[in-house]
């Protein structure tokens, strides 16, 4: 049984019969776009975080903005909550349905509306897949930079909702840096354009609030993404270390030397071994840690920076430094990193992926603590790490069929999140809070900060009908969570700055 439960203070109650909505929706949606039979609802009961499930009350799959408008307006009138869903690849349960709410799938809004080469932008519907954008604009020498590992399947609407990252964030930013404009529907069905096709827009920067708002502020129905020229050249170098601390130091050296790699990824021994057993990426299996460092740009820039990076890696004590000699080899090196999650899945029946970010200088301390927690809970942990930006993905391996293991995995994960905050970081770098980390928001934010978040929410969605129970906890939840978790009324490491 999972330990994170819906909280009464975050639940929208209503007495509406589902048939009332079905009847209304049938007047403008095809039969096949309204799903309410148990078997058909089953595929929608969770997103990418499958440990958290709830059979939806009703699923609708509209195809036009007008249909969505009618759906939300009707729900608004009846005070029925709505959860938006893209491809359902999210890792925090942000799209987990409600037992008494409408699950609004945007998957059918999957058309690219405009590719504007001169202005280097593309206007797409929310259900367009992340990778499909880059594929469509590649003939023009352009691409869309954010590349979450689920990019084959995940949709741009979901990316905006979660402010998704990927392995290229250090140089190219997150979703928030690569979106120009969204069109969204408010919960009462008003269509609003936020942002513009220019580089800034009139009024407050509401686009900053929309990106990463986890479906809590509006229903995104159109997105304009920024396109970048495809770099002339990309090269990757792999460095192996016999000590993870040295690898961490090497990352600091590279950045202090003025290099901004396109990707800078670290994996620990457990992750390396999992990957090697899985796809034979050519990683040295006896290394304690490896770094993948990719440099991109013009040919000369890559050459110059590669020389520098190799020298820095060698000086930092790498036992092996290997440059991919061909595009094939480069792809193979990346394939290893990108298959780290499925590789973990092969090692263990279930794994639980964490997403904290820490100031990188505390990496060694963090890893030591994780290894201690792994021992304490008796669960193995493999670490993959967006080393350039401090975003850590410990993969906690467990078996859900073993009584109590999921709870143990959750508790272990919770301790990692708490530690991330104590070290001056955050509970989530790119996956979002969803339901998964809602309790841990109480650790990261004080009551008046959470109250400020609720005021932002009310500014957009006064009735609180959009995705209730996600992302921002009520103070009631926090009071209960705090009572369980604060020991002697003190936080650990009081000497650390908690800005």
């Amino acid at each position: 049984m999972i330990t994170i439960q819906p909280h009464a203070s975050e639940t929208i109650r209503h007495q509406i019969d589902r048939m009332v909505l079905i009847k209304e929706f049938k007047t403008f949606l095809p039969q096949a776009s309204i799903i309410f039979e148990k078997e058909a609802l089953k595929p929608f009961e969770c997103d990418g975080l499958s440990a958290y499930r709830c059979l939806p009350w009703l699923v609708v799959l509209p195809e036009t903005i007008e249909q969505i408008q009618r759906i939300v307006r009707f729900c608004y009138q009846l005070d029925v909550p709505v959860v938006a869903r893209g491809a359902g690849t999210g890792l925090a349960g942000g799209a987990m349905p409600l037992a008494n709410g409408v699950l609004l799938s945007l998957a059918k809004l999957n058309r690219m509306l405009e590719i504007d080469i001169a202005n280097r932008l593309a206007v797409v519907q929310p259900g367009v897949r992340n990778l499909a954008i880059s594929q469509a604009v590649a003939p023009f020498g352009l691409y869309y930079a954010p590349d979450p590992s689920s990019q084959i399947a995940c949709t741009i609407g979901g990316n905006v909702a979660e402010n998704s990252g990927g392995v290229h964030c250090l140089k190219y930013g997150l979703t928030t840096h690569n979106i120009l404009r969204v069109k969204m529907l408010t919960m009462d069905g008003e269509l609003v354009t936020i942002g513009s096709h220019g580089l800034d827009s009139a009024g407050l920067d509401l686009l900053a609030l929309m990106v990463g708002s986890e479906g809590m502020l509006g229903i995104i129905v159109e997105v304009t993404v920024k396109l970048l020229p495809i770099p002339e050249k990309a090269k990757v170098v792999l460095a192996a270390f016999d000590d993870i601390e040295k690898a961490g130091q090497a990352v600091a050296e590279i950045i202090a030397a003025g290099l901004i790699p396109a990707g800078l990824e670290m994996m620990d021994k457990a992750a390396i071994q999992a990957v090697e057993d899985f796809i034979h990426a050519g990683y040295p299996k006896n290394a304690e840690a490896i770094l993948l460092c990719e440099l991109d740009g013009t040919r000369q820039q890559v050459e110059e920076e590669l020389d520098k990076a190799v020298a820095l890696l060698t000086d930092s004590g790498a036992v092996e430094v290997k440059i991919a000699q061909s595009e094939h080899e480069r792809q193979k090196m990346w394939a290893g990193r990108k298959s780290a999650f499925p590789a973990a899945g092969r090692m263990s029946p279930d794994y639980y992926c964490m997403d904290g970010t820490i100031p990188r200088r505390f990496l060694a301390e963090m890893l030591k603590n994780i290894s201690g927690l792994s021992e304490k809970y008796g669960l193995a942990v493999a670490n993959v790490f967006h080393a350039g930006d401090g975003n850590l993905h410990p993969l906690i391996l467990y078996n859900a069929n073993h009584e109590g293991e999921l709870e143990k995995a959750e508790q272990l994960g919770g301790e990692i999140l708490k530690l991330s905050v104590e070290l001056g970081g955050t509970i989530t770098g790119e996956h979002g809070v969803g339901v998964e980390k809602i309790n841990h928001m109480c650790i990261q934010f004080a009551d008046n900060e959470l109250t400020q978040f609720h005021a932002v929410k009310s500014a957009f969605d006064e009735k609180g009908l959009l995705n209730p129970g996600k992302a921002v906890p009520t103070l009631h939840r926090c009071a209960e969570f705090g009572a369980m978790h604060v020991h002697h009324g003190e936080v650990a490491h009081p000497e650390l700055d908690r800005f």
Binding site: S196, G203, L204, L206, I260, T426, Q452
Partner: protein, 353 residues
């Protein structure tokens, strides 16, 4: 020190809330010309100074709002780093808080990002006189709504900034500028073409006759790219970009309305009388014009952009592109969510709040 200046500011805000007295938040007054005229008791953040946390290898800096921008940039330069949104100063007294509140970015903006793009976190006093923090000191952080970035460009209407954390980037090793003499429509397409190629471009601006192309990066890359694009390097003054950003060029010296118009960069020339200077690859257009404000707002909106009266004679009318409909309502709602008593810089952005 920190407790003192922070506590004084908080006390001042509490007093303002209790007595419903509007405050006019100031930093170094370097951008006091920007925005609508406002009444209000001055509340200076100048004394709240100091860099709190700077880790060059983590690419972050945190400082108090009153910290001089020059002090920050000097500290960064000592470690070979910079604020990559190239903030304009407009006076030596420019502070970090004012820089973020105004949200202005320089010529590098289309290529590296804007002020708001580099904001990672902030601490502020909200309209309930509470001290609250959002975001943090890490590059990737998606916990809670992105309130820290919302502060960029809010012109102090949502709260008093106390501390800001920014991402920083390495200084380029070499910068070169090439020039091309072009007609306006050719300049727009040339800029679009250059921005679509894998080149280390860091500035594209056009003064109505000359297109200036700045390249930044590692030595060989910049030199080879400069050869590749051609143009004339001889007439490019090294200080051109600074003078452009600080509005020291002759174009900016005339005493008439100066409009800041932001449109999709490849937009054709707008049908407005006046003299133009293009920056941001064509995406930012400075216009000196006597055209009535309503006509300029309408032209900008038609071009899918917006216009602000950057330096104008009449600062009691609309200075920023007026909002309408639900967007206007959402802006008002957010203002109320942060400043329920309406005490922070009322009327500076819009006439009704």
């Amino acid at each position: 020190m920190q407790e003192t200046t922070e506590a004084i500011l908080q006390q001042a805000v509490r007093h303002a809330v209790d007595t419903k007295t509007p405050v006019n938040i100031t930093g170094g007054n370097s951008k006091a010309f920007l925005g609508r005229e406002l009444d209000g008791v001055p509340l200076s953040t100048c004394a709240h100074q100091g860099i709190l946390n700077y880790h060059p290898s983590e690419l972050i800096i945190t400082a108090r709002a009153g910290t001089l921008l020059s002090a920050m940039e000097q500290t960064l330069a000592e470690h070979g780093q910079m604020l990559a949104f190239e903030p304009p100063y407009f006076a030596d007294t420019a502070t970090l808080g004012g820089t973020i509140a105004c949200g202005l970015s320089g010529p590098r903006r289309p290529f590296t990002g804007s002020a708001r793009d580099f904001v990672l976190g902030c601490k502020l006093i909200n309209g309930k006189a509470e001290i609250v923090s959002f975001g943090g000191e890490v590059i990737k952080n998606v916990a809670g709504y992105d309130v820290a970035r919302l502060m960029a460009g809010a012109m102090g209407t949502l709260g008093v900034l106390l501390e800001v954390s920014l991402k920083v980037l390495p200084l380029p090793i070499l910068e070169l500028t090439s020039c091309f003499e072009l007609e306006p429509s050719d300049a727009i397409s040339k800029m679009a073409a250059l921005a679509s190629r894998s080149l280390p471009v860091s500035g594209l601006s056009y003064d109505g006759r000359i297109l200036y192309v700045r390249l930044s990066g590692s030595e060989k890359a910049v030199k080879v790219s400069a050869d590749k694009i051609g143009g004339d390097a001889a007439i490019a003054d090294r200080s051109f970009w600074r003078q452009l950003n600080e509005q020291h060029l002759d174009f900016f010296q005339e005493d008439m309305n100066l409009w800041r118009i932001v449109v999709p960069p490849a937009t054709a020339q707008l049908d407005l009388a006046g003299t133009w200077f293009y920056d941001w690859c064509g995406g930012l257009r400075w216009l000196k014009s006597d055209e009535p404000a309503q006509r300029i707002f309408a032209a900008a909106e038609k071009a899918q952009g917006h216009a602000d009266l950057f330096k104008g004679k009449d600062r009691r009318g609309d200075v920023f592109q007026p909002l309408t409909g639900t967007l206007q309502q959402l802006n008002r709602n957010i203002k109320r969510a942060f400043d329920p008593a309406g005490i922070f810089n009322p009327n500076r952005l819009y006439r009704d709040w």
